[in-house]
């Protein structure tokens, strides 16, 4: 058996009396889409925070690509190939779309202690930025300020930025949040196109999207991972139905 790309073992995070992450051990295999679902307050955000390095776990370990990254700062994890998109859209609003992606490319192309050369003329940055925008279908909006893009377009831009570093794992924190039905469908279609090429950990509320995309699903309730399995198994799991899916998938 090969080692999973990402794995947590017995992760625990407490905030005062609240156990936000309660002995969580999950893993993501190379190339798989693993969805993480759970009702509000289940601790999804806290778990994501520990994976990205924004929240330090009280105990337990996180391994990524054969390394213990539990104590690694955010930027170092990204450099190892763990990219993320945010639950609330986070782009550089006063940069043009193309410059947003170019910066993402720049982050992975050597260091940035270069003071004199105009980065807009660096072909290595430009070409990859263009390719990235094109991949998400935003190339026609390249020169537009990110702030002027529609919400759906900003989400696409975020994905382009996350993909720019050619990551091994994409951590997608509610990529469909705030999107219209059509935009959601486009996003699902796009993510399906990436399937098999890179691993994804998908945190999502939209059950249709989760069941359409995921190879495996983990259900988080009150900080505990109560079940992991294929979408069919999760649908059939009595405990999950009672705890969470009860109303949603009647």
């Amino acid at each position: 058996m090969t080692e999973p790309l990402l794995s947590t073992s017995s992760l625990v995070k407490r905030f005062g009396g609240l156990v936000a992450t309660d002995d969580v051990s999950i893993d993501v295999e190379a190339g798989e889409i693993h969805a993480l679902i759970g009702p509000n307050g289940a601790g999804k955000t806290t778990l994501v925070g520990q994976l990205t390095g924004n929240v330090r776990p009280d105990s337990g370990t996180i391994h990524f690509d054969g390394r213990d990254i539990t104590r690694l700062p955010t930027h170092a994890r990204v450099r190892l190939g763990l990219a993320r998109s945010f639950q609330i859209t986070s782009v550089l609003r006063d940069f043009r779309a193309i410059d947003n992606v170019a910066l993402a490319v720049q982050a992975h192309l050597g260091h940035s202690f270069r003071f004199l050369r105009d980065a807009r003329n660096e072909r290595a940055l430009r070409e990859r930025a263009w390719a990235g925008l094109k991949a998400v279908g935003l190339d026609e909006r390249a020169g537009v300020l990110a702030a002027a893009l529609s919400h759906g377009e900003q989400r696409q831009l975020e994905i382009a930025m996350a993909l720019a570093g050619d990551p091994k794992l994409l951590l997608l924190d509610e990529p469909m949040a705030g999107m219209g039905a059509e935009e959601s469908r486009d996003m699902v279609h796009f993510l399906r196109g990436l399937k098999g090429k890179r691993a994804m950990l998908l945190i999502e509320h939209d059950m249709d999207a989760v069941f359409a995309l995921a190879d495996r699903v983990t259900v988080l309730v009150y900080g505990r991972a109560i079940a992991t399995g294929t979408p069919a198994e999760i649908r059939a799991n009595a405990e999950v139905r009672q705890a969470y899916l009860g109303e949603a998938v009647a």
């Binding site: 930027h75 945010f86 940069f95 004199l116 980065a119």
Partner: protein, 316 residues
């Protein structure tokens, strides 16, 4: 031609010719005003790099004036007058200071950053007042740095040296702004969380920017000390740090030539508002900032991009 291209070119040309003009019209005093504008512009360019492009409101930038100035002053008092030795030592002192202050202050954000940079500047301010061997509160008269090639006691030569250094600072800033490094600094101003999530160790880049700005601020301090042949704690009082922020904001935050416009406006008003007010009523000149204050408020309310944005408007 666009106003944004032609106005800076004309103004710089005018400044380049200033010693000739003041001599031709026998207005030597204007040259000393011009010298001050040029030196303060260099300091403002340096502050603009971290405040304007980086969004880091350093309220202790005058400390670099003081450190650059006192390094020259103390060496001079100890009989070391060679600029070849004084200037590198002074720059090194400013760099070390920037590294210490930056390493601690850049871990904080917003108002805490403002307070910590201010506190560090106050620290050197009181330290310099306590230097009894070097004049204490009264300051220290020094002799100007000796270079052999150029005589800094000659006002025109000194001015041209300052002007050349200003041009070099502006050139560096113009490259910095569009470089990879500048992208990281500007990006971190726009969205720090995002930049970290892209894989940039933001702190490291900011620290280097802070050190570069500190070195440039130290250079302005060296020049200021040589301009007056005098250093005193007053050159690093918190009021001077505030003046520098005012100059940057007035000129246009994050605009290449903003610091120059800001310094020109600031010193022109100081020089000319005072006599005008004094003409209206004897003694009013002292309170020129009563007029200057509301002008700042107007800029803050109506011209967010400062004086530089007026040029942009002329282009549209």
């Amino acid at each position: 031609m666009r106003a944004r291209t032609i106005v800076p070119a004309l103004v710089l040309l005018l400044f380049a010719a200033l010693p000739l003009l003041t001599q031709a019209f026998d207005q030597r005093y204007l040259l000393s005003v011009g010298t001050r504008i040029v030196i303060w512009s260099i300091a403002a360019v340096s502050l603009n790099m971290i405040l304007g492009y980086g969004g880091l409101v350093s309220f202790g930038h005058a400390a670099f004036f003081g450190i650059g100035g006192y390094a020259v002053g103390i060496l001079s008092a100890e009989g070391i007058e060679s600029g070849w030795l004084q200037w590198p030592v002074a720059l090194l002192a400013a760099i070390i200071w920037a590294a210490i202050v930056g390493a601690l202050s850049l871990r904080t954000r917003g108002v805490y950053f403002i307070m910590i940079t201010l506190a560090f500047a106050q620290l050197v301010y009181y330290l310099s007042s306590g230097l009894e061997a070097y004049g204490g509160d009264d300051g220290l008269n020094i002799s100007r740095s000796r270079f052999g090639l150029i005589d800094l006691r000659d006002k025109a030569s000194f001015y041209w040296l300052c002007f050349a250094l200003l041009c070099a600072s502006l050139w560096f800033c113009s490259r910095f702004a569009v470089s990879r490094f500048g992208n990281v600094i500007r990006g971190a101003k726009s969205n720090e969380l995002r930049m970290t999530a892209l894989g940039f160790p933001v702190f490291r880049y900011r620290l280097v920017a802070f050190i570069i700005a500190g070195a440039l601020g130290g250079l302005a301090g060296i020049l200021l000390a040589n301009d007056g042949a005098y250093v005193s704690p007053a050159m690093m009082s918190w009021v001077k740090s505030g003046d520098l922020i005012v100059i940057v904001v007035l000129g246009g935050i994050g605009a290449l030539y903003g610091p120059l416009w800001g310094a020109i406006a600031f010193f022109a008003l100081e020089e000319f508002l005072q006599p005008i007010l004094d003409l209206m009523h004897k003694g009013w000149g002292e309170y020129w900032q009563i007029v200057f204050g509301p002008m700042l408020v107007l800029v803050a309310l109506h011209a967010r991009g400062g004086i530089d944005s007026l040029l942009g408007r002329a282009d549209d």
